[in-house]
């Protein structure tokens, strides 16, 4: 009995943290490509509407107005909801275990569980949110890597846009010399954005393109040099070695470059993203992640185990198809947007 009472005393006493924005304003999900232009938060929230909607509908479904008993069936439903965000069985299990330990056999209301999930997720995304490293003097060199079709070239265009908006001069290195017309794709973006492009012959050594791009950045005293690479699967270790070579070539010209090596992860990717993070971190020394295509129906939950296991911060999220649809990643906002709707009353 005493034990039982003890258990009861453990009711979460933390006051409910204030949500970043009033939930009512978002009852209807904004169209993704909304020309809102303004509020960073608005656009992030719009891009994450899908994520929120899933968690929000499903979690809300779990709770009747009078609260629900936390039993195995309840926990199973919670687990299913979490797994559908692609965070993976292990991460989902961690959250479920946490909820079970604290709330098992109790009748709960939504806020308590949502609050605990939010805290869990924030704890898991803790390392993230670092800003883009910049060179103390001279050009900042950014190498962009990823598997085939993850959205590297588009992300580079968005990054370039971000820097040119800040008034910086950008030179792009078209290092994808393998895929047909990849150079053309980047050169079209370069023309649109007014960035300079350094290109090589199709099929030539990408390291030579990287070398020339950095050389151009130095001689033309550009602020930023972004280098594209061909998509490669992390299992192709000869291609992964090529990345190490590109790194070496760059650091010969500027000792502390590349200042950032970004891995572009497709938000629709499942657990293979873990293998990607591992492979690219080992071979290319990745320093951060760009989570692309977050505007689709995929939720990108896989970054939870990725950041947790590899300590790779998510630096940007891609939220659409235009060059402006790139935002800095902020875990608080990410989680808030992720769980925002879950606090709103049903209906």
């Amino acid at each position: 009995m005493a034990l039982f009472r003890f258990g009861r005393k453990q009711t979460p006493d933390t006051p409910e943290p204030t949500v970043a924005a009033p939930a009512t304003g978002d009852a209807t999900p904004a169209p993704v490509a909304a020309p809102s232009g303004g509020g960073l938060l608005d656009r992030l929230r719009a891009g994450l509407a899908k994520t929120a909607r899933v968690l929000n509908t499903d979690v809300r479904d779990l709770f009747k107005r009078e609260g629900r008993l936390v039993d195995e069936e309840f926990l199973e439903e919670l687990r299913a909801t979490l797994i559908r965000t692609d965070m993976g069985p292990a991460a989902a299990e961690g959250i479920v275990v946490d909820v079970r330990e604290r709330l098992r056999a109790r009748v709960v209301d939504p806020e308590i569980v949502i609050d605990s999930i939010r805290r869990q997720l924030l704890g898991r995304l803790e390392q993230t949110g670092a800003a883009v490293a910049a060179a103390p003097t001279g050009p900042t060199v950014i190498l962009v890597t990823g598997v085939n079709g993850s959205g590297k070239t588009t992300s580079i265009a968005k990054l370039a846009r971000l820097f040119t908006r800040e008034g910086k001069r950008v030179v792009l290195g078209a290092g994808d010399t393998f895929r047909a017309a990849a150079v053309e794709q980047l050169s079209m973006w370069a023309a649109r954005l007014g960035a300079e492009l350094v290109r090589g012959e199709p099929g030539c050594d990408p390291a030579s393109v990287a070398h020339r791009a950095v050389a151009r950045a130095l001689e033309g005293s550009f602020d930023v040099c972004i280098i594209d690479t061909a998509g490669r699967l992390q299992t192709q270790s000869n291609l992964m070695q090529e990345l190490s070579k590109i790194r070496r070539v760059i650091s010969k010209q500027i000792p502390d470059a590349p200042h950032e090596v970004l891995l572009v992860i497709d938000a629709t990717a499942g657990q293979n993203a873990l293998s990607q993070a591992k492979g690219f971190k080992e071979a290319a020394g990745c320093t951060g992640i760009v989570l692309a295509k977050l505007d689709g129906s995929a939720r990108g939950g896989v970054i939870v185990p990725v950041t947790e296991q590899f300590g790779l911060p998510v630096k940007f999220v891609g939220l659409g198809e235009t060059a402006d649809d790139l935002e800095a990643f902020a875990p608080e906002r990410f989680v808030a947007a992720l769980l925002e709707g879950a606090l709103a009353p049903a209906g």
Binding site: V32, K50, A80, I83, R84, T85, D86, G88, P89, A90, V147, N148, G149, S150, G151, F178, R179, A180, A181, A182, E184, Q185, S187, M188, W189, L233, Q234, T235, Q236, S237, N238, L239, M240, Q241, D266, T268, A269, G270, Q271, N272, A273, L274, S275, K278, K293, D295, G296, S297, A298, R299, V302, Q309, E321
Partner: protein, 488 residues
């Protein structure tokens, strides 16, 4: 965390191996492992649940009680269930004789549509049919150029939009052109889109209505996570799919999306993309995929490939020479050349049962380059040296050969030593059928997966006859060692 689905499933099922009977309890434990493995392989949550309940239904009851080896039985059921889930397969493109067949490819951004278009065109061309590509991806910068370059590589015409900005009109014009020119197959490469983008999905179904493609294929990235279910459903509702092409299966993606997509849409997975080369498009086989998933290897494919690509007469000649003990370095080179015709060495190894781990170990280590070095060494030898390397090649010859082949002298020595061991092994294998030979190779894998181990010449007969008692004693010792090894 990073083992393949194969490995995770094997370990889950291994926990059942060696237990006397399949009780509900120990089966649940094994199935919980299967469940985690499937979720880690990105099979959609609901699909996993359906799959497991079906397995339980099949496993519990009479069949299990009658079964002598419950683990084997469960493996069989899991395998069969996987096959049921992913099959039946239909590889036909359903080309319409006498008229232009229209194929349409659609999918999310970056799933590999354009590359798959090229691979499909190559395949159709190889079958002796005329084929044309239509570049209807007007969204992504340079997508048209990409398709045009691919078309040039394969040698097929590409219809590019001439200033037209409406993909529907482009498709219509492309199909009209193909019909006029009497080309039997036309492939439409559409723009990648989000499944939730209503406007673009409507545009897709407008193309569908306007040109009336005979077959619509969805291109799915093997690395897709839980979202595969949703996007496949959306595309299927907008277009009524006829098949699925799964791409990027050459990586370590576990391809759980294959199970999900098949379950949700009900349309067969037709082809799989297994590499960046334009030829790397293979037929999808549910049996083989399930076998691969369960670690049974893909023997059927290998045997089939081998029979297609090996020069049968040459094989027979080699075998006779082997039996006569005349196997030389020249023959060795021929064998390597034959094997290489199957495809990149790493891929061939991966298809041999039990060699999956080997493939992983060698991943990317450029096997083909190594083989080329071997060829260089062999080419730098005199005929006499090739005939009997271990006897003829001394230190000064070794240095000469190394200089001629541009390698280190120790590499020549290594080849000679390895060839010695190998020719003994090959002589033993001569006369065995393809299947037995594969089994033999499998038997050797423990030895080979130790990278430090070299293939040595097997020990000959000692000539000493043992009494029955001594043999018994020896057998006992061997078993004891085996047990100890197993424990350790």
């Amino acid at each position: 965390m990073f083992e393949s689905l194969t490995a995770s499933l094997s370990s889950a099922l291994n926990s059942l191996r060696g237990r006397g009977k399949l009780t509900e309890g120990n089966m649940r434990e094994g199935l919980a492992g299967v469940r985690t493995a499937l979720l880690e392989a990105d099979v959609a949550y609901d699909v996993v649940e359906t799959f497991l309940s079906r397995v339980v239904d099949d496993a519990v009851g009479a069949k299990v009680l009658e079964s002598l080896d419950p683990a084997q039985q469960l493996v069989g059921i899991v395998h069969q269930e996987l096959v049921n889930l992913m099959g039946p397969v239909d590889h036909s493109l359903h080309l319409q004789p006498g008229k232009t067949t229209i194929l349409m490819l659609c999918g999310l951004q970056g799933s590999g549509k354009t590359t798959s278009c090229g691979k499909l065109a190559k395949r159709i061309k190889q079958q002796g049919q005329g084929v044309m590509l239509v570049a209807a991806d007007l969204q992504r910068p340079a997508a048209i150029e990409q398709l045009a370059v691919l078309g040039r590589q394969i040698g097929v015409p590409v219809h590019v939009p001439d200033g037209i900005t409406d993909p529907v009109a482009v498709c219509r014009a492309g199909v009209a052109r193909a019909e006029k020119e009497g080309i039997s197959v036309v492939i439409l490469d559409t723009a990648g889109r989000l499944s939730i983008d209503e406007a673009l999905m409507q545009e897709l179904s407008k193309i569908d209505r306007t040109v009336g493609p005979d077959q619509v294929y969805l291109v799915v990235d093997a690395m897709t996570g839980q979202d595969a279910v949703k996007s496949a459903k959306a595309f299927n509702e907008a277009l009524e799919l006829d098949g699925v092409i799964m791409t990027k299966l050459d990586g370590d993606a576990r391809g759980g999306a294959a199970l999900s997509v098949k379950t949700v849409t009900g349309v067969p997975i037709k082809f799989i993309g297994t590499g960046e080369q334009i030829e790397a498009l293979e037929d999808f086989h549910a049996e083989r995929m399930a076998g691969r998933i369960l670690g049974m290897g893909d023997v059927v494919t290998l045997v089939e490939e081998a029979q297609r690509k090996f020069d049968q007469d040459e094989m027979k000649r080699q075998e006779e020479r082997l039996r006569a003990g005349e196997f030389t370095l020249d023959d060795f080179k021929k064998v390597l050349l034959q094997t290489r015709r199957l495809g990149p060495m790493g891929k061939v190894l991966g298809m041999i049962p039990g060699m999956g781990g080997m493939q992983e170990m060698l991943a990317g280590a450029d096997l083909d380059k190594d083989v080329n070095r071997l060829f260089g060494i062999i080419d730098a030898m005199t005929p006499a040296e090739r005939r009997n390397p271990s006897r003829v090649v001394d230190q000064s010859r070794r240095r000469r050969i190394a200089a001629g082949a541009g390698v280190d002298p120790h590499e020549v020595g290594d080849l000679v030593k390895q060839f010695d061991g190998m020719s003994a092994m090959m002589k033993g294998m001569a006369g065995l059928g393809m299947r037995d030979r594969l089994r033999e190779v499998q038997r050797l894998q423990t030895q080979m997966t130790n990278p430090a181990a070299r293939l040595g010449r097997p020990k000959g007969d000692t000539g000493k006859r043992l009494t029955a008692d001594e043999r018994r004693k020896q057998k006992k010792q061997r078993e004891k060692d085996a047990r100890r090894k197993k424990r350790g």
